[in-house]
Symmetry: C2
Subunit: 293 residues, 2 copies
């Protein structure tokens, strides 16, 4: 087998197993620069350069015959291990027989900007790993190139967050531990408009979407979306750092949307505006059937 060797791990109390398990905690992730991705879906999404070691039970290898070659192809080593070893490695009730140890890749902000993403999502004081992971997934789906976490936010390489991304942690540029005001100064200098998403915003996202049709609206330029804490939103001093504060309109009687829903709506609004502003972007033809047809 090229690029990997099969080793049988059977002792759930071995130092190796315990060192993998420790990556569920932030301290070990900081010290080693490694994180855990669990489950077959995550293992399939491994990025070249991020994949190091993949641990597989025999039954998982049987159920997913492609996994071993996919992992080797990304440059990972693959180890078969007992169910007990796998259970001891993971903090999940059912890791589905697969745990991957990966190198966490956090880019410096300058490298993120060098790729010239049209849209960047910034999470300030976001604490819930499930919400943060869903925003990374929304960023990936909407074509948002990068997600930046301020220093007061959850670690995106937290196992719960990684699970919520369903593989998108390997697809978007991530930058962690950013200082918010430095960050905003830098992105403004690079030509980005900073839009804070907040339920109390002056601007209605739908109005911005209408303006976007003119190709001069604020959604069509390079945009940084700033999202705040899931419970209390953006702090006043952070809201003041934005060029505009935008609300997703509430048409009914709900008090708010949750962070992940609001971020999904905002990032998709930017994606649509960008697609309209650049009609050269390839779009598959759309066959429309008549109503009731």
């Amino acid at each position: 087998v090229t690029g990997g060797s099969a080793v049988d791990l059977s002792n759930p109390r071995s130092e190796r197993v315990r060192s993998v398990r420790r990556l569920s905690g932030r301290a070990a992730r900081r010290r080693t620069g490694l994180f855990l991705a669990e489950g077959p879906a995550a293992a399939r999404e491994l990025a070249v350069g991020a994949a190091l070691d993949v641990y597989l039970t025999a039954s998982a290898a049987d159920r997913h015959p492609d996994l071993r070659s996919a992992a080797l192809h990304r440059g990972a080593r693959v180890f078969s291990c007992t169910d007990e070893v796998l259970a001891a490695m993971s903090d999940t009730v059912s890791p589905q027989g697969v745990v991957a140890v990966c190198r966490s890749i956090s880019l410096p902000l300058d490298d993120v900007l060098a790729a010239r993403p049209r849209t960047i999502a910034v999470l300030a004081n976001v604490r819930d790993p499930g919400n943060a992971g869903t925003v990374i997934r929304a960023a990936d789906a909407s074509g948002t190139g990068a997600v930046v976490f301020t220093s007061a936010s959850v670690d995106p390489f937290n196992p719960k967050c990684v699970r919520s991304t369903t593989g998108s942690v390997f697809h978007v540029d991530l930058c962690v531990d950013a200082d918010l005001s430095d960050l905003l100064t830098t992105v403004r200098r690079a030509g980005y408009r900073v839009l804070a998403a907040d339920g109390r915003g002056d601007l209605d996202l739908d109005d911005l979407t209408d303006l976007a049709d003119t190709a001069t609206g604020p959604l069509t330029g390079p945009v940084v979306w700033l999202f705040g804490n899931e419970a209390w939103g953006l702090a006043d001093e952070h809201r003041r750092l934005a060029d505009d504060v935008v609300r997703v309109p509430i048409h009914g009687r709900a008090e708010s949307l949750n962070l992940a829903m609001a971020a999904t709506v905002c990032l998709y609004a930017s994606a649509r505006a960008n697609r309209r502003a650049r009609p050269d972007t390839p779009r598959p033809p759309t066959p429309l059937r008549p109503p009731g047809g």
Copy 2:
């Protein structure tokens, strides 16, 4: 105190406490037509006619001095009880000192249609209560008037689902136990276009949004959105029942959006199309600052 009497409940093993606790299970909810709403936010959202009994600890009553009067105002009775009683009533780790017993109001489909909602969300085979609750919240926020659950779907009055709605369970018309093909026949006869949301759809939601600008697009008429199971999507036979199958475009490398995210994007697209098609809808003025201003 008008409309309620303060009674002290201190025995966590009393028949009354156990009957409240049983409402965490579907069988007891079916038998009694009642459900549980937990936490102060839910208690504030109680609907007139749905609110029956509200149970409060002394500390919750202190923290939320408005709760008692709000509950009485909705026609509920309010009982003060010990922390042990409250813990025994709820399946939550922290019900935050408030549990409300409510009448579950599921409308017949004809009553739902009689209100002429522009948009209706239908959940077919949706099993995860958190996802279902988030869709109810998205429906409320986007002004979608009604959410219909097919018989194979989760019970929207499941405590986890109710919590995920953050009060929206009291804001939208709900219809449960619907037979999907009967339902679709009825809504078509009532003039609704049925759009199935599915990652493999022929139509791109952004293209529909562009067409909506012409006020003749499929999003501007009365629309039923059909959403399938969170893991495997819509069954083939259900997809075939729709007028069109619409995908939320994936611009990046994510495999999909989760159900709640996709539903939020779709329902907001309908809301925007409807607002454009009816410019008489009041909109607050939008002050736009110049970029970088």
